[in-house]
Symmetry: C2
């Protein structure tokens, strides 16, 4: 009986190892990247260890090297995956059939929704990628540029409709850059103040920026009393 | 005659070298830091050469090492000096005797005025210090925290006066974080769009943010149509 049980266990082990080997490469890479983002978010780029990533992923180190490269390359893969994920979440959250303020609202909700759901991704992107310096910081700058273009198209199309484009107090691109910086900075502040619900953050930004923009649209302009 | 002239030249050289040696340490350090900021802003942290800094400063490398340390330490000194300069320029630009919107306006004018006058300092602080990673990136984060506190005090005091403090749509600290991020991001955008006059940047931000804040003060609140 003992002998038979051992054979069964051995068969199980062999089967599970065959199953493991048969996992498609995409699934393996996802396991590795998920583990890497978790470990990088906790320890930062320099202190993260490939041994720990291998352990958390349940994938051997040689397989990680073969699929996604050494630590530097792996960190680059993480940043690119999370950048694309974040950008696509925000872009797909904007419904083009609603008024511009609602488009911005949905975009902000999607942004803070992403940061709430993938907090580790945001930490890797906004804290560790910048802290690790170039070439990683450059990837985050590229993401920021894409975000500014997305918001600029929204702001410019609203501004052009209402004849704002020629006013000195209005700049689609400048205001888009300011808005993206405001959203990022508030997301960063949120990491240290996680008790605030995500919808509240988006509401603060709408009240700070859109009511301002709305007043511009109505023809009001703030000028210094001098 | 020739002999006498040589003696005079030799005396001149000795005198000028004595004068050089007699320069107070603070003056020497300023020469070195000015040159270092110039060279770092052009080449970034990693590519900047101590030989070039020594040449631009007109100060020997051994003297640089003795006064301000090797490249890593020197870069840290540059970041701290420029951080303090920038913070003090903005703080001193805010006149506490004017209404809150004018205080913010003056603060923004001072900020963009600093970036216009010390463009190299801003490039070192916002591009190269972040790109060089920690410990340099940390210094920039500390500067951002001080800036958020400064703006928070301004926004909170205005908000409290008008009974905003308890409204869910208002957050002194959150909005201060958003404002500082917006100002930084627009300053960064400005590096690539230097044709825009500095006062125009400050005006865009006032129109984007203060008119929003002003509407909040008047009791208007933006809410999504859902």
């Amino acid at each position: 009986m003992t002998g038979q049980r051992e054979v069964l266990v051995a068969q199980d082990v062999r089967r599970s190892s065959e199953r493991a080997k048969r996992l498609p490469r995409a699934v393996r890479e996802k396991q590795i990247l998920d583990a890497a983002v978790e470990v990088f978010s906790q320890h930062g780029y320099h202190m993260a260890s490939m041994d720990v990533i291998s352990e958390v992923a349940g994938v051997s180190k040689p397989m990680i090297y073969s699929y996604l490269g050494a630590k530097e390359e792996l960190f680059g893969h993480c940043i690119r995956r999370e950048s694309n994920r974040l950008f696509e979440a925000v872009r797909d959250g904007i419904r083009p059939d609603v008024p511009p303020d609602m488009q911005l609202w949905h975009g902000l909700r999607s942004f803070y929704g992403f940061v709430a759901e993938y907090r580790q991704s945001w930490i890797v992107l906004h804290r560790h990628a910048l802290a690790a310096g170039d070439p990683f910081a450059k990837e985050v700058t590229a993401l920021r540029t894409r975000a500014i273009e997305l918001v600029r198209d929204l702001v410019v199309s609203a501004g052009t409709q209402r004849g704002l484009a020629s006013q000195a107090e209005f700049s689609g691109e400048g205001m888009a850059a300011a808005l993206v910086g405001a959203a990022e900075s508030l997301a960063d502040w949120w990491l240290d103040n996680p008790h605030v619900p995500e919808g509240v953050l988006a509401s603060w930004l709408m009240n700070l920026t859109w009511l301002g923009f709305n007043d511009l649209v109505e023809g009001s302009v703030w000028r210094p009393l001098e």
